[in-house]
């Protein structure tokens, strides 16, 4: 499932941007494809609230029993919230990567970066190879 309410990266992350009190807040997670490829996620390390990252910076790690994957932020900005539920229950990344399994919320500093990301149809084509 590739919902069209968000943008995607070639590294299989998604970002959904919402306007909150005039601020552009992007919620970031990994796609169903990424979750499936990783296998059972057993550990998630997320950045600290308040830390700032540039686009494509590694900002955390997602680990399954066998594999480690970096979390790259699709957009530059300041981390304003992390999903503590995922830290406590990493399996949320597998069971609901697109909603309950979101990872971090970022206050965008360069909204223009969104134009460089894939839309749902482009990401679907990427998956179809």
């Amino acid at each position: 499932m590739v919902p069209d309410d968000r943008k995607y990266t070639e590294e299989h992350e998604w970002v959904r941007v919402e306007d909150e009190d005039g601020q552009q807040i992007g919620t970031v997670g990994v796609t169903e494809f990424a979750a499936g490829e990783l296998g059972d996620v057993v550990f998630v390390e997320l950045p600290e609230v308040g830390s700032e990252y540039s686009q494509k910076d590694p900002a955390g790690t997602i680990e399954s029993v066998k594999a480690v994957a970096d979390l790259f932020l699709p957009v530059s900005g300041e981390v304003v919230e992390i999903n503590q539920a995922v830290v406590d229950n990493p399996e949320l990344v597998n069971s609901d990567p697109l909603e309950e399994g979101w990872l971090v919320k970022v206050k965008l500093v360069e909204p223009g970066e969104l134009d460089e990301l894939l839309d749902a149809s482009a990401y679907s084509r990427l998956l179809e190879g």
């Binding site: 296998g39 057993v42 029993v65 066998k66």
Partner: protein, 383 residues
């Protein structure tokens, strides 16, 4: 091996693909790493029964009047004097004492033996044995490409084995098989060897059978055991299962520059035995004391240590993690590590991506095996 070498398949490769397995290259074979998921498959083997395609393992038959003394010279454990049907776990070492491979040796008949080595070391071991083969008295026959291997593992494995048609006439014998013993019987396509062995720490069996018999046996196990919840298990869970009970894995705890004494399998080294390859070096190491030792660690800080992560004591590197993962049964991050002796009792850390994570030593093994005695005995979770 070059990237262009085609991967070998087993008689079950097509089945794995058709049933949604994720296939990976492993030791020159295309093998299933997982079907439903590592955690679910792991739990199935701990609590029920799972079946594994481990056909990639190497099988070399050794026969002849001098086979017994020759094998005894090649390996660290004592195989001479073993009763027919006995299985022996052993290392095969270099003269310097480092481990070439760890393996099982079956005494099939008085003068007939089966050496079962790791897939990743098969070519090396076959060559090593051939190099050391005497001019007469011993014959060596590499049957790896004719023999399929299915492991049936878990507390319900005994029940499932009893339902396999080929074994129907042997039910009592199989029920009487003790840990590390084997029996031979005639199957539709030729010889089957059934042993009470495995790599999971649970009650279990391994079935060596002709390639042509493998698919029917595999499907029969799944059908006959459906009410037991049997399912196929991939190499991913095979690794987490062996890790929890601290079985060594070549390329991790065992290497050519690690001796069996360092790796904690000194019980499979018989230093009082007549001369064998590596004996002198191992006797010397035993006398001087091992310079390094395999230890078990539990992480206190959040994170997962993986192979190669440095182990630190007061900031100084004293060794490295050989295997580390999140234990599905104990639900925590654990690691085995090879470190300098004496092992410090406190102030230990593992360095993960540049960050030291506090950890402490825990008794070996993380999880006690249930290979002997009651397969469903209550587990005392120790860590």
């Amino acid at each position: 091996m070059s990237d262009t070498t085609p991967l070998k398949s087993t008689p079950l490769t097509a089945w794995h693909r058709e049933h949604g397995a994720r296939m990976v290259p492993f030791a020159g074979y295309e093998m299933p790493v997982q079907y439903r998921g590592v955690l679910a498959e792991h739990e199935t083997v701990r609590n029920g029964v799972g079946i594994f395609d481990i056909t990639h393992m190497g099988e070399i038959e050794v026969a002849g009047p001098d086979a017994e003394s020759w094998l005894d010279h090649l390996v660290t454990n004592r195989v001479s004097g073993a009763a027919v049907g006995k299985v022996v776990y052993t290392a095969m070492c270099r003269p310097e004492g480092g481990v070439l491979d760890d393996m099982l040796i079956y005494r099939l008949q008085d003068q007939q033996w089966l050496v079962v080595c790791n897939a990743s070391n098969h070519d090396k071991i076959a060559a090593w044995m051939k190099d050391h083969l005497p001019e007469s008295g011993v014959r060596m026959d590499d049957i790896t490409d004719q023999v399929a291997l299915i492991a049936v593992q878990g507390p319900d494995s005994r029940e499932l084995m009893g339902r396999l048609g080929v074994l129907a006439d042997h039910d009592e014998t199989i029920g009487g098989l003790k840990f590390y013993t084997a029996m031979t019987l005639g199957g539709p396509g030729g010889r089957w060897i059934v042993s009470r062995t495995g790599y999971t720490g649970e009650h279990g069996y391994e079935i060596y059978l002709p390639y042509g018999d493998a698919l029917a046996a595999w499907e029969e196990l799944l059908t006959a055991g459906s009410d037991l919840g049997v399912e196929p298990v991939g190499l991913g869970a095979r690794d987490t299962l062996r890790f929890e009970v601290c079985y060594c894995l070549y390329g991790h705890e065992l290497e050519e520059d690690i001796t069996p004494l360092e790796a904690g399998i000194g019980w499979a080294v018989k230093l009082k035995k007549d001369d064998f390859i590596g004996k002198e070096a191992l006797v010397a190491q035993k006398e001087q004391g091992v310079p390094r030792k395999l230890i078990c660690l539990a992480l206190d800080d959040r994170g997962i240590a993986r192979q190669g992560c440095p182990v630190l004591h007061g900031g100084r590197r004293i060794g490295a993690v050989t295997s580390g993962t999140f234990s599905p049964t104990l639900k925590k991050a654990l690691a085995m590590a090879l470190v300098e002796v004496p092992v410090p009792e406190a102030d230990l850390a593992v360095e993960v991506r540049g960050k030291p994570l506090a950890c402490h030593t825990v008794p070996f093994p993380f999880l006690p095996a249930r290979t002997k005695g009651d397969p469903k005995a209550e587990r005392n979770l120790p860590v």
